[in-house]
Amino acid sequence: MPPVARWPVVRWTGAGTLLLLLLAFPLVFTQPHPRHVVITIFLFAMLAQAWNLLAGYCGQISLGHAVFFGAGAYTSTLLGKYFDLSPWIGMVVGAVVAVAVSQLIGYPVFRLRGHYFAIATIAVGEIVNTLMINWDWAGGARGLFVPIKRPDSLANLQFHQSKQNYYYIALGLLLLAFWITRKVEVSRMGYYLRAIREDQDAAASLGIPVAAYKQRAMALSAALTALGGSFYAQYILFIDPDSVFPTALSILICLVAVLGGIGTLWGPLIGAAILIPLGEWTRIYFGGTGKAIDLLIYGALIMLVSVIQPGGIMALAQRGRRRTG
């Protein structure tokens, strides 16, 4: 065992303190904007965590993950709009739909490796985006408005007076993502996924049904992402293909995970905690061209990370620790 046996105690205390701070945050910061920023951080951290399961731990780099985000958002919204179904149920159904879609996509696409796979995921993302833009029953390019329900209620997952409840729900989703990832990490599945990432042939020679495990990772990842999508719909109350299906969103999710540390538990949160406020800051200070400036910084960051430390910030931190340890 590594020398510092105290680590678990320190780790748990640190995590616990962080959790307390996060729980207390909305009680201290009562303005909508800071809360919105942190909610966005939670959302992206959760999406990145979900992507991480498939890409970081299992090594399958999907560049079209927005498909599952949109699946969740659209399913819960359509069910709410046309069948008056509770958004909570819609969320669950959305996750189921996303899993189904993921298995459908995975079956052919997982036979590809490396670059072919990555491009295929972009292609799938674009196909779905195009189809949704042209599907009028689902709103087409104009999008869908989530039916407004008053008064605020947890049952309807809509709050108009304050963002506080959204905050806690988002935090809850993030904790769920953390919990699931941790569980996978220390289980047999975690070892198998990492083995697949390292060397598929060696993994198969040890009895791992590679395709089946890829599909499992994909399903888990898709389900979590869809939950995020449904939440987003209930939060923003409007969705359209451009906001939930574009390749740009897929890219942002990847970036958050890669910057923070792909394949690590804390990476997604770290990445989100840096990139989201960065995006907000550039939007405020650069106005209209703000969108371009933060993409400029994002692009430069991705390049830097790839060249210097593909393992992201977590890897940088680990290297430092090992040297002093």
């Binding site: 065992m1 590594p2 220390v186 289980s187 047999r188 070892y191 198998y192 990492r194 083995a195 990432r197 390292e198 060397d199 042939d201 060696a202 993994a203 198969a204 020679s205 040890l206 009895g207 791992i208 049904p209 590679v210």
Partner: protein, 244 residues
């Protein structure tokens, strides 16, 4: 006394790549507890044979039977779960994991509990003499150590049949005797093995039986002493001029 049945029965296995015949009508058997060595010059089709037996390539013709059951059309992971483990000529350690984690991946075939897998992994590492390196990262190991790691990983799946592709390849001279000793020990403990090996003195020393391949065909099958003197084998390795 139980009736000796064949553990592995390879029947008429053929593999073609376009115009090239890598394996042509290869047949041989491996009994329980046997150590069979496979020799042949480069390009003879040895590794291809391993690939065919372990499901990494589909055979064009022929059958592979494991304890009477056909495994010819199965995937590598299915064959592994039926008790056939292998190492690779080009080593494939999981470089981002530690040594014990590597072996645990193998151990997980027999258990789903991580603690149990770790125990089994440590046992396997002990058997191959790598226990002291358990927490090291796989990528810092030397070639000889990596061979042991791959062996431990394969052993952790508790196989009935172990296929070793090149035991001494790339290993420094000093480390070879220890490795050979390890293989001998495993055999002594009752393992059934098929070993591909280029080093003649090693393979002749440990095998009970040798199957010699050349240009995709079996040219000899028998005890080492007999095969070593077989003129076809001598010719394959050294050329016509050397046949006594």
């Amino acid at each position: 006394m139980p009736v000796a049945t064949m553990l592995l029965d390879v029947r008429g296995v053929t593999k073609r790549y376009g115009g090239l015949v890598a394996n042509s009508n290869i047949s041989f058997q491996v009994g329980y507890g046997e150590l069979v060595g496979i020799i042949g010059p480069n390009g003879a089709g040895k590794s291809t044979l391993f690939d065919l037996v372990t499901g990494f390539q589909p055979a064009d013709e022929g059958q592979v039977l494991l304890e009477g059951e056909s495994v010819t059309r199965l995937r590598p992971d299915e064959i592994s779960r039926r008790g056939v483990a292998r190492t690779f000529q080009k080593l494939k350690p999981f470089t981002q994991m530690t040594v014990v984690e590597n072996v645990m991946v193998g151990a997980f075939q027999k258990t789903t509990v991580p603690a149990r897998a770790r125990r089994e992994a440590m046992e396997a590492l002990d058997r191959v003499g790598l226990a002291d390196k358990a927490e090291a990262h796989a990528r810092v190991l030397s070639t000889g150590q990596r061979k042991r790691l791959e062996l431990a990983r394969a052993l952790a799946t508790q196989p009935r049949l172990l296929l070793l592709d090149e035991v001494t390849g790339g290993v420094d001279q000093r480390s070879i005797p220890a490795l050979v000793d390890l293989v001998r020990r495993l055999h002594g403990e009752g393992a059934s093995l098929i070993v591909i090996e280029h080093n003649m003195s090693v393979i002749m020393g440990i095998s009970q039986r040798i199957v010699a391949l050349n240009l995709g065909e079996v040219i000899a099958d028998g005890p080492p002493a007999v095969v070593g003197r077989d003129p076809r084998v001598v010719e394959a390795y050294l050329g016509q001029a050397y046949v006594a």
